[in-house]
Amino acid sequence: MVLKIKHLKRDFNKSSLLIVIISLLLAIPVFAILISLFKETGEMWEHITSYFLIDYIQNSIILLLGSGIICFVIGTSSAWVVSRYKFKGRKIIEWLLFMPLAIPSYIVAYSYVGLFGYGGSFIKFINYLGFNSIDNIEMMNIYGLVWVLSFSLYPYVYASTRLIFQSYPTRLKDTASLLGASKNKYFFKIALPLASPAIIGGLFLVFMEVLNDYGAAKYYGINTFTTGIFRTWTALEDLQSSIYLSAILVVLVFVLVLIVKWLRGRRSYNLKTYNSNDQDENYRKDLKGLKKIIFLTIVFVPVLFGFLFPFLQLIIWGLQTFESIFNSELLNIGIQTLFLGLSTSIITVFLATSLIYLSKWNYLKQLNITSKLATLGYVIPGAIIGIGVIKSSHSITEYFSTYHNIKIGYIIYNSILVLIYAYVFRFIAVAFNSIESNTLKLSKSLSEASNLLGFGKIKTFFKIDFPLIKNALLTSFILVFIDVIKELPLTLILKPYNLSTLAIKAYEYAEDERVAEAALPALFLIFIIGSMISVVNYRFKLNK
């Protein structure tokens, strides 16, 4: 420590200062919540703990466990089938298995009412097949919500696991066979454990999305932490109690983070010891007989329930309501959504890249921990960030009004800037992680060579790093863009009264019991997200 203080003057530079400033500014909502915890509980806190808290905890745990188990089963089994077997239409199925990501889970929830309710499309279909005794499948309960969230979120597990399964060298399977392992033993003892970091990573994203969900739980009438935070703030008008609820949810999230770290342990899952050329192009096996039927069911069920059925239902509704809903207002909302997505993504990618490179250029490495604060947003549900932003806005306006007699409330409240700021904090980790993993792949000596050849840090970035990471920048831009335009709870809390997004419009129609009308804005949203996913997919293939 003495040594560090001695070098403080020599090693402290602009980068050190900027990292601290950017990180602290971004993490203001977290500080606002933490500081509020030291104040007294709100008026309604006793009422909430007596009547609702157990319900929130119980339901959230059922949702986490239920969707976790189903996503694990669907995600890993479908990834295994498309990675290891040959069948007609495999490439299309591989792509379709990703598609539930294009439909926000609250929209899947709305469409399920049209599919499984009385006279619903799916009910009509099974009646047509001869199952006349079924006139309704009750979905609007917690188990229905588990089903909806699972079929909507399994792609997180599928995407990460598929990449791992496809990277297994053939020699791995050969070694296991030579040691007498059966196919089942190979799968359960080698293939699955080796993929466990990817599976756990995917499941963690599923858990975050489940905890962040507001639209689906609200529509199905299930009390969760997120709906509770909203109700306490809007209906009970008790901001302090909603902050307390947020804090409990934050604790739950950090328990999940610790569990994930513990599960990953210190075992090595690195396949580097195998030659990367050891990939047999014809390693995929043919499917026959009963196995073919079972394995095709494994990949078709998630595509049907996660994407095709909800999508078809939305198209049916969209066609029915097209004339009444498609108007200049909807187009205007589409443009506002695009504007919000574009501006937030540009700022987010810029700040994420800045944080990564400032950390690299900063010689006081201890300060780089502060950049972790800036990327906390992705593990904090949107509703909490919304409440944190409101609380900090109150404090800032109060401070300026009391100590400087300056009224800044009109700038902060109802401002699009505040909404963009909250989006940036919520999603900067998406860009940060994606760009950082790509910069880590670049040899450190490339930029050092440029430095030694007379170029400063910024010039080196534009001449050397930027051309080599521009694909990663574009991908992270698109990922942030998709997350922003899908976002619901944060937008609901912070949006200015004269601004709307496609997600908000769909939510408003569904809340008005006009669920068919919600289809068109939802389809508009799906179209934009689908196009963006295709661009990412195309760039990924191009890079490969």
Binding site: L3, K6, H7, R10, S443, A449, N451, L452, L453, L468
Partner: protein, 250 residues
């Protein structure tokens, strides 16, 4: 004139043992010096400290009699006039041979590049990308890129480790010829004493982050007190005898 003077230089990472420990030495202008030591003895860290890519915990570094680093003051790598050829060559993958070589140049680009291409005998490879070159060619381009800026001191990090034996011996001669031809002072690190004996004017031996001996090539076998060093040199002698015998029998 002394091209490099190092005094009591130390560096450790995250409070672990010192990787470079209290090193002091100097090198005369115009010499080729080899730093020899086993893997993990701190040779590369010492290089990175000289180039300014790492910050020392204590000690000072002077290049051409000017302080470039001490406890209070540090000169950025780009302003030290020190060239470094990395072990992996670090050629910019998205630039051609000519773009790599002229990267750091501001004036007289064409003339300088032409001159260097001639020295490294790569006139016919101007528009090739690094991945289209052999290991030896990549190394020569990396060398030319560093020489383009006319550095006072040229550092070469394990310059022969990525090459096969036949190419290595040819390249050792090439490197020495090029450096001597343009009259540069140079230091290279290696774990192979044969590399050092072949092209260096003097050798510095390193072990566990410390300098254990600095001597002229002609004095290498004289007055060796350090046991480990003595063992290495004895092995070298017996290996040379074996090779000579094998050649005689052939």
């Amino acid at each position: 004139m002394k091209i490099l003077e190092i005094e009591n230089l130390s560096k450790s990472y995250e409070s672990k043992l010192e990787v470079v420990s209290d090193c002091s030495f100097s090198i005369e202008s115009g010499n080729i010096c080899a730093i020899v030591g086993e893997s993990g003895t701190g040779k590369s860290t010492l290089f990175r400290l000289i180039a300014g890519l790492e910050r020392p915990d204590k000690g000072s570094i002077k290049v051409k009699e000017k302080i470039v680093s001490n406890d209070k003051f540090i000169v950025a790598p780009k302003d030290r006039n020190v060239g470094l050829v990395f072990q992996d060559f670090s050629l910019f993958p998205h630039m051609t041979v000519i773009e790599n070589i002229e990267f750091g140049l501001v004036k007289n680009k064409n003339k300088k590049v032409e001159e260097l291409l001639k020295i490294i005998r790569m006139e016919n490879f101007l528009n090739r990308y690094p991945h289209e070159l052999s290991g030896g060619q990549q190394q020569r381009v990396a060398l030319a890129r560093s020489l383009a800026l006319d550095p006072s001191l040229l550092l070469l990090d394990e310059p022969f480790s990525n090459l096969d034996t036949e190419l290595k011996s040819k390249l050792r001669k090439d490197v020495r010829t090029i450096i001597k031809e343009i009259g540069k002072s140079s230091i290279f690190i290696t774990h192979n004493i044969l590399d050092a004996l072949d092209i260096a004017d003097e050798i510095i031996f390193m072990d566990n982050g410390k300098i254990i001996r600095q001597c002229k090539i002609e004095n290498i076998f004289k007055e060796v007190k350090n046991k480990k060093l003595l063992k290495n040199i004895t092995e070298l002698k017996s290996n040379s005898d074996l090779i000579l015998n094998a050649l005689k029998n052939k």
